[in-house]
């Protein structure tokens, strides 16, 4: 049962344009969300996170938006660069049950930024 879903397995964007990666979740207890970028055979690299008390968090070219009522979050990359080409995973966790709770990953979206 996939609690975090990324319905677009792949996305292609022209360099300089905006990349929008979407993520949906089903568990209303999730209150912390993270985005990771991953290259083949490497560990996921943390990008940006957002707590459920916010609806937006910005860090340089990366902005994450959270819509709690829709159980939806999105990652915006502006402007997109060829080096952004990778697989992007969203992850969600619940802090309600103690420290060290697992975080659940989505299925990933492969982003290709075309020069």
């Amino acid at each position: 049962d996939q609690q975090v879903k990324q319905n677009s397995p792949s996305l292609s964007v022209q360099e300089g344009r905006i990349s929008i990666l979407n993520c949906d979740y089903t568990n209303s207890m999730f209150d912390y969300f993270l985005w990771y970028k991953k290259y083949p055979a490497e560990g996921p690299t943390f990008l940006i996170s957002i707590s459920s008390i916010k609806d937006k968090n910005e860090d340089g070219r990366f902005t994450v938006f959270l819509n709690k009522s829709a159980k939806h979050l999105s990652l915006h990359i502006v402007p997109s660069q060829p080096g952004d080409s990778a697989v992007y995973f969203c992850a969600a966790s619940s802090s309600g049950f103690g420290t060290g709770n697992q975080f659940y990953f989505g299925t990933g979206t492969s982003l290709t930024v075309i020069p």
Partner: protein, 115 residues
């Protein structure tokens, strides 16, 4: 800055053998998470530890065990290896879990191949 260190990076074992994967968290981090990622799949949570105690448990087979030591490093012990255990094994660490907005950072992973 120091990152999460995993060893070994690559491991080849035969069926029914045992394997031990090690994870050294970022200094001062007290929480360790283990994830397994099969080819083309999203990372699946195995187990986590906080302050040397098991914190959360996912889809970890009974053939696997793990612990966190006094220096906060963690070891994942895998016995009676099966072909299906071939995967990338990632360890992540965080400070105090994901409560309070801390992030989890991943190591580069151990690629286990069972032949």
């Amino acid at each position: 800055a120091a990152g999460v260190i995993q060893s070994p990076r690559h491991l080849i074992k035969e069926k029914r053998e045992t394997a031990t994967l090690k994870c050294y968290p970022i200094p001062r981090h007290d929480t360790v998470y283990w994830y397994q990622q099969g080819p083309g799949q999203d990372p699946q949570f195995l187990i986590s530890f906080y302050e040397k105690m098991q914190s959360d448990k996912g889809s970890i087979p009974d053939r696997f065990s793990a612990q966190q030591f006094s220096d906060y490093h963690s070891e994942l012990n895998m016995s009676s290896l099966e072909l299906g255990d071939s995967a990338l094994y990632f360890c992540a660490s965080s400070l105090g879990g994901l409560q309070g907005g801390t992030e989890a950072f991943f190591g580069q992973g151990t690629r286990l191949t069972v032949v």
